[in-house]
Amino acid sequence: MQAIIEIKNISKRFRISHHKQPYLSIRDSVIDFIHQPFDLKNKTSVEEFWALKDICLDVYEGESIGIIGKNGAGKSTLLKILSRITPPSSGKIVLRGRVASLLEVGTGFHPELTGRENVFFNGAILGMKRSEIKRKFDEIIDFSGVEKFIDTPLKHYSSGMQLRLAFAVAAFLEAEILVVDEVLAVGDAEFQKKCLGKMEEVTKSEGRTVLFVSHNMSAVKQICEKSILIEKGRLSFFSDTVSTLSKYMESNTKNGFSGSINLNKNIIKKIEMKCDEMLSDTFYAGCDFTIDVYFESKDKLEFPVLGVLFKDEYNQPVLAMNNKHYRNNLVTKEVSSGIFRMNMPFFPFFSGNYTIDLYFGNQYRDIEILKDVAAFMVEQKGIKGGIEIPDSKLNKFLVQKVNWSIV
């Protein structure tokens, strides 16, 4: 079978000129020339940067491929090349079908135009024919849930309403190949779920080919069977989504994380995470969770304080705790080295991916702050000693030691 998308040795080079402005003015060029008219070597003080290097990939009809990688790894550049916004520096792509790209929802929305007018314009630049938009107009409005305001200028919409309208147009795109960038990272949880549901419907029941970039791991898992991992512009891993995701989590922490990381910073030297007393980077709600922070300081520390901040996959802080919050947990003796241990006998998170920031200090101030030192995954499974998994839509985590009784 012929692949619907053949990506052959695609590379993209950017030249970073060391001018501070993103664009030039003639004056700058003239001044440069006057300053160093013969210094030809120096004139080309441009740095080459390969945003993508030798990407090869075949995608077959009906497949949905997730593209994951850190910020700046080249994911969006790949999508831009696929959607013809920018040309590759070398290599070739063969596309056998109509491509609709969705790098942003609501591209070209104009605040002075009404919702209706914006739907037509946005639909048109996404590649829909006017007759096609007319035919689907009612469905689009229905999906967006803003029919009451459809003839009101967009500037009077709330940002949530604009977003819903924008996604509604995108949801009705009819193309064989759909290229989607991180467009679901906005909007409230309920709307995100609706969008994801629509995406899933598009890929699974309508059998369309989808390339999907997201930092939302559960979204990738839900939509894509296979995923590629891009690291520093290179395709480093291609397999089913679950293995690619765990590969990604692994590479997220420098030393191939599996629960233990050597840091060798000024004070914090090493971190270990344990799930039920075993080194691990995967946890589940209700497990026995331990972080051991190995520290060594030149000066004696009076009342050392360890703060641990958990952040979710959107980089939003969800839980911050330090030993000052807990009575009887203050360390009163002077120490210069040791293992600072935080233990939660009942781990509160249900599911998702988290990263940890560490704040190490004394009772007055932070001495060392380490951001994103570790990442871990929480698997959704039965809670130890619990009876039922609570609704994960309503709950981020479970508060332990709550007494329930009828009196």
Binding site: Y23, K80, L82, R84, T86, G97, V99, L103, T107, A124
Partner: protein
């Protein structure tokens, strides 16, 4: 499995003017033009009347202050009609070229997120300005009817269309050329209005051009296709005879075509990397 249309993306594409692709995207040209028109006069109290008001006020001022200066020439029609017809044709040219360049910059966000032939942006800007011209032209017809009804008999639709085409082609050429430049150097955003103003003085907008040196006059005519556009426009409306020979007119058309081809060529060359540079 049915045969599917293949599309190949590669680093170096053969140069083409992209006309075939434009035809594929003709609906988008229409919708960009429509949006441009819609957005232009939203939230203005008198809306579309601005189109007429601007040349009208200018005509009034010129008629009051400058008519003595320029009326020594024989214009065959009342001077205010000569000025008004000149101003609206000039506005078609200048606003087309200006909006073409500005729209490239204001559409930067769309350019970075969606692919479509970028030629559509300047093209639709020029088309949107055409509507303004037609409206102010209707007002001209009203003036003629009131002032000298019989003058209407000399109106020639074919010349009128030809003139509009000349003016639009020249503004598109200029708009494309400056759009391509402005992507890299923002200076050209400010240079264009200035350049257009210079052209104003060497075009027969509010006075007819008579230079003592015939060679210079001829050179000016070739260099500035607006002279041809204006002359044909006045031939179309008032029946004023064109003073140029057929040969000279053909050369002027040739120069205009070269301008336009150069504009498209420069623009298409820039288009490749426009999303990275803008």
């Amino acid at each position: 499995m049915q045969e599917k249309k293949e599309y190949i993306i590669s680093a170096r594409n053969k140069f083409s003017f992209g006309i075939k692709e434009l035809i594929d995207y003709q609906e988008l040209i229409y919708i960009f033009t429509w949006r441009e028109i819609k957005v232009k006069y939203k939230q203005t109290a008198i809306g579309i009347f601005w189109v007429v008001l601007q040349p009208l006020l200018l005509m009034g001022i010129i008629n009051v202050f400058l008519s003595r200066l320029f009326q020594s020439h024989h214009y065959e029609v009342p001077y205010y009609l000569y000025v008004y017809s000149g101003l609206i044709t000039w506005t078609l040219f200048s606003s087309s070229a200006n909006t073409a360049v500005n729209n490239i910059l204001t559409s930067a966000n769309i350019i970075k997120k969606i692919y479509f032939p970028r030629l559509i942006i300047p093209l639709s800007s020029v088309l949107a300005s055409l509507l303004d011209f037609v409206i102010s032209f209707v007002v001209l017809i009203v003036f003629i009817t009131i002032d000298d009804f019989y003058l209407l008999s000399s109106f020639n639709v074919l010349y009128w269309i030809l003139s509009v085409m000349v003016v639009m082609m020249f503004s598109l050429a200029l708009g494309l050329y400056f759009s391509a430049l402005v992507v890299k150097y923002r200076d050209f955003r400010y240079a264009l209005p200035f350049f257009i103003q210079l052209l104003f003085f060497i075009s027969p907008v509010i006075y007819s051009i008579h230079l003592p040196n015939a060679t210079l006059q001829e050179f000016l005519f070739y260099f500035n296709p607006m002279i041809l556009g204006m002359d044909i426009m006045r031939k179309a409306i008032f029946g004023i005879n064109i003073q140029w020979s057929t040969m000279q007119i053909l050369i002027s058309f040739f120069v205009l075509s070269v301008y336009l081809l150069m504009g498209i060529y420069t623009f298409r060359k820039t288009e490749e990397y426009i999303a990275d540079k803008i």
